[in-house]
Symmetry: C2
Subunit: 425 residues, 2 copies
């Protein structure tokens, strides 16, 4: 018997691309019922195969430990029974979302009688490049399926056994609904060059790439991709406490924005405080943060508020800590806050705390971020909290999709025009 | 006196980029009245300086003749008094369009009381790369200004004197409204490397690039750009005449779709006819086209309809003639037409002629083009005809903007969230 070497990578990727395009044309026309049947069956399969998924995950975790990968990475990688159940539940949540495909987003009639509709259609084929979290396989697969897009998933090599086990469940779902297996494909190789192919070698097949992972992955994708990208680089989010802010509300919002969960992109990283209310607001807000276990790095004024405040340096204003650390400084009113955010921010999510409506409107209008909030925590920056359902990320791009990217943002549109024989004069 | 060499190109382009970003932040907040005042003054300036514009244009035309450039290019390049007047009128039309910036596109309230709005904002800085038509300077400048975007214009070197004269009028408009001159900048050099800078060296400054020109320009931009692109590659548009089509309507639509103007992207390039109605519909439709001076290139069946029909080869089905030539073939009903369009089309604009509603709906749903029409000419593929006003082009991209790209499509959005102290549980 001869040995069968793996086919060259280019051939493998071409085959994935062709399969995806072909599946996408079927999936674009699939009814909501058929897509939901596939999702329901996939969720059932995840539950039925929980033991296999956990076993595969143990392989991955053991290999990660053996390779001395960081504890944070192993935490993102490791699955548990509740995490598998929440993966199944996540698929069912996506199933319950309204189907965006075929929805008429706008409709009008022209004086010549032409009736024009703008109708949502899938984007086509989506490439997802992600790192260690295996649940992305289920989440992204489900979101793409619901939005009628074929997807090519490229997970981190450290989660390959977990991803394969979860992918098998998604395939069961597709088979149950008689949808092509190529609707959801997993790149079958851990060859790192596969990412390069997705970024630059598959322009013919991929309509968009979504990177899910750390800053360096997203930056690489945005730099190298020859297809459109939906990505968020980082969430360097700000809370600005205005002179007309309620003190208790300032404390509650600063605390929640920073400390509810420190590792999410909507977590606040810098606290800006109006110089005009330093006397009244600064000490209670800083103490609340310090007492909750948050490190505060402040400018000279903030350092005076509490001996535990450490000095901030210029780099702190640019930093997304994703940790229990916050930078804090005084600014000259709302315009000072707007200027600081324009200079140092990442255009993700910013909040103003004030009882002054005019000041709030100035901030909401002039801060050029995907999400701007008045008197609310930045941790609401989330598709679910927006009522948009599960999301594939929070985009800080200005193009196509900005803010939470849910099933609707994974669609394009076409114009359908109905006439009665009109010709153009 | 020392000579002053031109600054290095990179420095020039960086300066344009920085100026545009700075102007964009002012323009994003400019009121509709201020933008309209600038447009009104620009239109007045175009009329007041018509003689200078025509004189500058004569320089360009003379140089183009001396360089033996094609008659078609010289026709696109040459201005006349009516063309200058229509440029001024075009600016006023854009002025009359509704301002998309600040419009609330969607609005809802969450159970926790948060009020969420999706509000349109400008994209930021737009780069336009175009070829010989000087009117693009006015059209694109006006569209970007109205949509609140700063623009960097890079016209063809053959139209540089014309572009500079028109640009001077736009600057008069900006000055009259006290808007920064950097809202509309013209790349001041004809160095071809400037295009390379815009495509790959100014990612920090440009939010999107729009190529306006022939297939090779658009293909180059789509291939090399490191920033998002809104482009249309070509309009290989189809008219399908179904077995249930009215014969007279078929003649009228085929004639208009092909011959009203042959040089626009919405002109039909291929006629598909249902094999089931070849006997009744083919001869009248083909004769109508031939008698209007159109060359018909047909498959064997179409050739039998009239001795003047020439044979079509495989390449004809892919060709955007932009001329009085049409390819024609018989297909097996609506599904044959859908399959032909999927294989050879450019996903721009396609029309079905039929009295059968079910057949029409099948075509409208299954043909994956930016614009699909029923019983209407493909020449309606135009922002003005859609009631969307002037447009910067018809996008065949699926991402961000598809179909006519008017002022609304030149915007992004942000989420504005108003609360009363909500924190996330």
């Amino acid at each position: 018997m001869s040995t069968h070497p793996d086919p060259p990578l280019g051939e493998t990727m071409e085959q994935l691309g062709r399969g995806a395009v072909s599946a996408a044309s079927v999936l674009a026309l699939a009814s909501t019922d058929v897509k939901n049947a596939a999702l329901a069956a996939a969720a059932r399969a995840v539950r039925a195969h929980a033991a296999e998924i956990l076993e595969a995950n143990q392989h991955d975790v053991a290999a990660a430990r053996a390779a001395n990968l960081s504890a944070a990475l192993i935490d993102r990688l490791a699955l548990s029974e509740p995490r598998v159940e929440s993966m199944a539940g996540g698929i069912e949540e996506v199933m319950a979302l309204p189907d965006p495909v075929g929805v008429t987003a706008a409709e009008w009639q022209r004086p010549n009688g032409l009736r024009i509709q703008r109708v949502r259609v899938p984007l086509g084929v989506i490439g997802i490049i992600y790192e260690s979290r295996p649940n992305v396989t289920a989440d992204a697969g489900a979101l793409c399926l619901k939005s009628g897009n074929a997807v090519i998933l490229r997970g981190g090599s450290e989660s390959r056994h977990s991803n394969a086990a979860i992918h098998a469940c998604l395939l069961e779902g597709l088979a149950a609904a008689h949808l092509p297996a190529e609707c959801i494909q997993l790149v079958p190789t851990t060859d790192r060059a596969a990412v390069g192919y997705m970024l630059a070698g598959m322009t013919e097949y991929l309509d968009v790439i979504v990177p899910r992972g750390g800053k360096s992955l997203v930056a690489r994708v945005q730099q190298e991709a020859r297809v459109p990208v939906i990505g968020h680089l980082e969430g360097n989010c700000h809370v600005y406490i205005d002179r007309d802010a309620d003190v208790r509300m300032s404390q509650a919002i600063a605390l929640n924005a920073k400390m509810r969960r420190t590792g999410i992109c909507g977590a606040a990283e810098t606290l800006l405080i109006d110089r005009a209310c330093v006397e009244t607001h600064l000490v209670p807000v800083v103490r609340t943060l310090l007492e909750a276990g948050c490190e505060v790095r402040g400018d000279a004024l903030v350092q005076r508020a509490d001996a535990r405040v450490r000095p901030a340096c210029e780099e702190d204003w640019y930093t997304e800590y994703l940790d229990a650390i916050i930078a804090a400084r005084a600014v000259d009113g709302v315009d000072g806050a707007i200027a600081h955010i324009a200079k140092y921010g990442s255009a993700h999510t910013e909040s103003i705390v004030t009882e002054n409506q005019a000041t709030a409107e100035r901030f909401l209008q002039r801060v050029d971020s995907a999400i701007v909030l008045h008197n609310a925590s930045t941790q609401f920056a989330d598709g679910g909290e927006f009522g948009m359902g599960a999301e594939i990320g929070i985009s800080t791009d200005r193009f196509h999709a900005r803010g939470p990217v849910g099933v609707e943002q994974l669609t394009s549109y076409k114009y359908v025009v109905r006439g009665a024989g009109q010709v153009r004069p």
